[in-house]
């Protein structure tokens, strides 16, 4: 069965430190891949997407993600975290050409001042 796994439920980092959030997928073929961020009480906002091509994808708010086919991973990174990055982050995948998105269970990021 297709799945998206975010192994870390909670992550705590200090402001200014680097960040990596993990995402692994299990699909028959390479899906479209997305990272979304959700602030408390809000909907999900798209950070970045990967459809094909360059495996390093730049997004908004200084985030980037790297697609690694051999590891079935799409990890999200940021070189220096700001207090305003505290939120919940969701990885998602879509089988191309379908309406079927699968979301990970989310990683809640806490940022220490």
């Amino acid at each position: 069965a297709q799945s998206v796994t975010q192994p870390d439920i909670h992550i705590t980092v200090s402001e200014g430190a680097s960040l990596e959030l993990r995402c692994n997928y299990s699909y028959g073929a390479t899906p479209y891949l997305f990272w979304y961020v959700q602030s408390p009480g809000q909907g999900l906002q798209l950070l970045l997407k990967y459809f094909s091509g360059d495996t390093l994808v730049q997004g908004i708010k200084g985030f980037e993600a790297e697609f690694k086919r051999s590891q079935s991973s799409f990890n999200l990174r940021k070189p220096s975290v700001h207090w305003s990055d505290a939120a919940e982050y969701f990885c998602a995948a879509e089988t191309p050409g379908t309406y079927k998105y699968i979301f990970g269970t989310g990683t809640r990021l806490k940022v220490l001042a």
Binding site: Y32, G43, Y99, Y101
Partner: protein
């Protein structure tokens, strides 16, 4: 910017009531979705619609129905609300092969 608007941020309803959650998008998107979000379970698809009057069941359609009479509007209906339908409900829309755009969500409490 795409705007997806959900009519209510918070709703409190009683068991057995019929509940309507409304969603409107302003970017002429073909596809619209209703998700339910619960802690530890991520987002689960209830229903989606790929055209006016067209709908397909998602992963957890039981106890829900939907209506799409106009392209910009997608309604989620709880025919007889139950306490296990207390949750955050998220509406989203997109064009095919483009990312989902989400509303701010409706937090529904059924007592």
């Amino acid at each position: 910017d795409v705007k997806v608007t959900q009519s209510s941020r918070y709703l409190v309803k009683r068991t057995g009531e019929k509940v309507f959650l409304e969603c409107v998008q302003d970017m002429d998107h073909e596809n619209m979705f209703w998700y339910r979000q619960d802690p530890g379970l991520g987002l689960r698809l209830i229903y989606f619609s790929y055209d006016v009057k067209m709908k397909e069941k998602g992963d957890i359609p039981e106890g829900y129905s939907v209506s799409r009479e106009k392209k910009e509007r997608f309604s989620l209906i709880l025919e007889s609300a139950s306490t296990n339908q207390t949750s955050m409900y998220l509406c989203a829309s997109n064009r095919q092969n483009s990312p989902l755009h989400f509303g701010n969500g409706t937090r529904l409490t059924v007592t």
